[in-house]
Symmetry: C2
Subunit: 215 residues, 2 copies
């Protein structure tokens, strides 16, 4: 069913469907039509049908989708039926925020270790996980079946850390450092460039203000 290549744009929209369906499910909604979902999510019904057709369509279009079924199916597609262990590199505020975020665990992402190069941070606890020195990272990744590394360190340390992670079998990196990563084929990277996001907001804001001044 998932044999053809699916565009990253479609994949980028799946978590949003998952989020809305999870809310509907929590509210006790059992069925929803693509039209209703379209109004709720402010995307066209045809977009929704096209997106779902990438995964076989999830059937039942005549009388709407079964919310619980659709929620679980999209969860499976997203790999959320599996458990993934992750470590956080960088125990600053952002690393701590991510470590403390309980929802990740509900989705099967298990916070398993935390590392920092600052000696003052070592031994500090974040949700029951003790911060360890960077020197302990490589062995920990090898011995604890760690799939995902979360990078919340300044960009200066990134190249060295990524090399070590990859050499020790990490398979995915969630990157918050302000730099694009160079990784071998097969290592998955998802970037969250917070500054880029703020600049995009700034652009839209500035443009709107300039237009208002002119009119």
């Amino acid at each position: 069913m998932e044999d053809k290549e699916i565009s990253q744009a479609v994949i980028g929209r799946l978590p949003r469907y998952f989020r809305y369906l999870g809310d509907l499910r929590d509210e006790g909604v059992e069925r929803i039509s693509s039209q209703e979902l379209s109004e709720l999510m402010k995307v066209t019904a045809s977009q929704i049908r096209q997106d779902f057709n990438n995964f076989g369509g999830f059937g039942q279009q005549g009388y709407g989708y079964n919310v619980d079924f659709l929620y679980k199916e999209i969860g499976k597609i997203l790999g959320l039926d599996q458990t993934h262990h992750f470590i956080i590199i960088g125990a600053g505020n952002l690393g701590q925020a991510l470590g403390n975020y309980m929802n990740f665990e509900r989705r099967g992402f298990i916070f398993s270790g935390m590392f920092d190069k600052n000696p003052d941070m070592i031994g500090k606890e974040v949700r029951g996980i003790k911060v360890q020195p960077m020197e302990a990272m490589e062995q920990f990744v090898r011995e604890n079946d760690i799939d995902i590394a979360v990078l919340t360190i300044p960009k200066t340390g990134v190249v060295d850390v990524v090399e070590k992670l990859v050499a020790n079998g990490i398979k995915a990196i969630w990157n918050f450092a302000h730099v694009d990563l160079n990784v071998p084929e097969g290592i998955q990277v998802e970037n969250v460039h917070l500054s880029d996001s703020l600049m995009k907001l700034s652009y839209n804001f500035s443009r709107y203000m300039k237009e208002k001044e002119r009119s």
Copy 2:
């Protein structure tokens, strides 16, 4: 020069150009061709030229772009030549991380206030800014020329807070809450849905592992 509507895809790429040009500038590079920039950024040279043509092209294609000029021009387009005051709603780890991030200030974003509904947080200091109770937010926004609100609160509180922010003249919202916002026309919103980003990583990772198993 900026009269035509520019697609959000192009705008989304501007901060990345800005980041690379800033690094080149810091390294003392004076000129760069679209070909060199293309190799560095791993996008096609024609993509770069097309993107830049939205803003008049920045000239000098024959012997390359002037790095400092291009950096400053893109900065202006992004509105970074202006000063914006922002407040953070939600003084948890994520709010603190964003408040402590010095780079925002370098870009003209001035951290001006922080609010939380948890009485234990009131009076706590984040980079010299005292956390205030939520009740003080509306007056503060009105009286301190606040353009941008950063939302780092759980989704349950969002509707009420956004209503108050909009009523008191906020113009842009950087939203980290796990919910899409409903705002009037003219209010700019940029979402950072961290869970969505992690799920996208999970999808790409799961798919790769399944393909490897099959082959």
